[in-house]
Amino acid sequence: MKIWRRTILILVAFYLLLPIAAMADFSTKSLSGRRGFDSWRAIFQQPDLISAIMVSLELAAIVIALVFFLVVPTVVWVHLKLPRLRRVIEVICLLPLAIPGIVLVVGVSSIYRWISIHISESPLTLAAVYSMLVLPYTYRSLSASLNSVDVHTLAEAARTLGASTYKMLFGIVMPTIRSGVMSGAVISIALVLGEFTLSSLLNFQTMQVEINLVGQSDGGVAVAISLAALLFVFLLLVAIPTTINRKSQELETELA
């Protein structure tokens, strides 16, 4: 059985790592045929690309803020106070899974036309619809966390000790469900950085749209930046501990 295990692992690893290796290879080719980081350096010579990357990073930040200050408190609030709405919120949060991006953009394009005329033309307005896309993932990791900790009792304990609603939500409940919130945040970053469908069809210049554009003329740069994004998200995921699994040890000691 060990042979099978190893074989499968090697084959899958090969298939998955091959394109990444190819990206590394492709992006380090230079015109003169020698190895070089020309493509990588060229990234910084593309102002449109740089500004698009900034836009995407800013969008990620705004989406995380929306998630942190709007989605998470709402889900927690419903969990604590409005159990009857739980089903409704669950359906809403999982709805984006049933609505492909390409369909959502059809419905949302008229709204964004209105927004660009009456509010702002900035691509940062995309954050609103992006936060819809991340809902299923944040909801899932949140509800896993909420179900593993007795949030009700903690909230009530905080209240009887004198905590206001704000302090209870942000000082007690949120830190307790930290791991769920964090993993939701990381997925949100990955999603926002990788989003193309909505931004391209709504004519905004996000990172992916620019990469696609640059790729038409300079493949090396496109590949280099794609590889960089991949590594960035990978490092994020590894660096942030997403499962803080503390088993409570039941010590049956006598009272000291």
Binding site: V149, D150, T153, L154, E156, A157, A158, R159, T160, L161, G162, A163, S164, K167, I172, P175, T176, R178, R246, K247, S248, Q249, E250, L251, E252, T253, E254, L255, A256
Partner: protein, 363 residues
């Protein structure tokens, strides 16, 4: 445990910590279910009152209403004669200890204890806060665990930290919602005495909810027995035990034997002995007497009418299950020293001391 703690803590903690509590005709229904059906209780300053009853009797609902975590359909709550019925939970200054899992997992034991004080940081200096936290940890005997996190503490230790945390805010009333139910039997007994000791030292008015009658009788000044949202009887433990006011109280508190007999003129004849009935019993006709096991006298007699079916050694006492000639079975509790010759199969005479007993109607 540090027994020399005593006096010096009381000064730091007990300021303003004993208020009188009045629950006046409080009621709450959840849909069709009446959790509270008009409960009225008065609790004096510094008293420890236990609310005892089976699950669903409303004791927890009453406690949570007092804490402000449960709104009521009707009724008033007065603390020191001030109407706090509509006051928010965070403003009632009542310390609450929950059944389990109420310590904030991301904070150390000390931080948990100090939490109520850090919320009022603008009113207390940080030195005072630290001193109070330290004293409370010593009061519950967990100074050495100040930096430990809840998951590193045992269940009993966690509840002691929860108690310290509740006391840290110098509450007017201390509320305990079945704090021992989730713990092991041995830890339960030790911690229950601890809680009483601390409560007496600090002097806070306390309401203790439990379904365990041994617990309630063991530590309370008065015990209120509840059923279906109303109070059946509230009295000191001994009175509750010896003079139950209703059949339910008689059966819920302590063990009882059910023996058939006939009542006339306030006296019932059972096992050949005439015994006076308690107030609340039926006045005449056939009834079921609720007899406490320890009031039965068991005398070894080879020709006796009763026969021991089984004997359980409980340490200080012995529980004997005895078959009677009329095919009924009763349980008697005798000191182990008296039970030396009494084993399964022995014949005995059964009679009993003439304490007044409660007689309920035959169903």
């Amino acid at each position: 445990m540090n027994e020399t703690s005593g006096v010096k803590f009381v000064s730091a903690i007990s300021k303003g910590s004993s208020a009188s509590v009045k629950l006046i005709d409080i009621a709450k229904s959840f849909g069709q279910v009446k959790a509270l059906a008009g409960l009225t209780i008065e609790i004096g300053p510094g008293e420890l009152v236990a609310l005892l009853g089976p699950s669903g009797c409303g004791k927890t609902t009453a406690l949570r209403a007092l804490a402000g975590l449960q709104d009521l359909d009707r009724g008033q709550i007065l603390v020191d004669d001030k109407d706090i019925t509509y006051l928010a939970a965070s403003r009632r200054n009542m310390g609450m200890v929950f059944q389990s899992y109420s310590l904030f997992p991301h904070m150390s034991a000390l931080a948990n204890v100090e939490y109520g004080l850090t919320l009022k940081a603008h009113k207390t200096s940080s030195d005072l806060r630290a001193a109070k936290g330290k004293e409370l940890l010593e009061l519950v005997g967990l100074s050495s665990h100040a930096r430990h996190f809840p998951h590193q503490l045992s269940g009993g230790q966690q509840q002691r930290i929860a108690l310290a945390r509740a006391l840290a805010i110098s509450p007017q009333v201390l509320l305990l919602d079945e704090p021992l139910s989730a713990l092991d039997a041995k830890v339960r007994t030790q911690l229950r005495d601890e809680i009483r000791r601390i409560q007496l030292e600090v002097g806070t008015t306390t309401v203790f909810v439990t379904h365990d009658q041994e617990e309630a009788l063991g530590i309370a000044d008065r015990v209120g027995v509840m059923r279906n949202g109303i109070l059946e009887q509230i009295a000191a433990p001994a009175e509750l035990y010896d003079r139950p006011a209703t059949a339910f109280v008689a059966e819920f508190v302590g063990l009882t034997n059910q023996i058939l007999g006939n009542v006339s003129n306030g006296v019932i004849e059972i096992l050949g002995v005439k015994v006076p009935t308690l107030a609340g019993s039926i006045s005449s006709g056939a009834g079921i007497a609720l007899v406490r096991p320890e009031t039965l006298k068991i005398i070894p007699n080879p020709t006796g009418s009763g026969r021991i079916f089984a004997a359980s050694f409980l340490g200080a006492s012995c529980r004997l299950t005895i078959d009677l000639p009329n095919h009924s079975r009763i349980v008697a509790q005798v000191p182990s020293s008296d039970a030396a010759q009494l084993g399964a199969g022995a014949n005995v005479d059964v009679s009993f001391r003439s304490n007044p007993i409660f007689v309920k109607p035959v169903e």
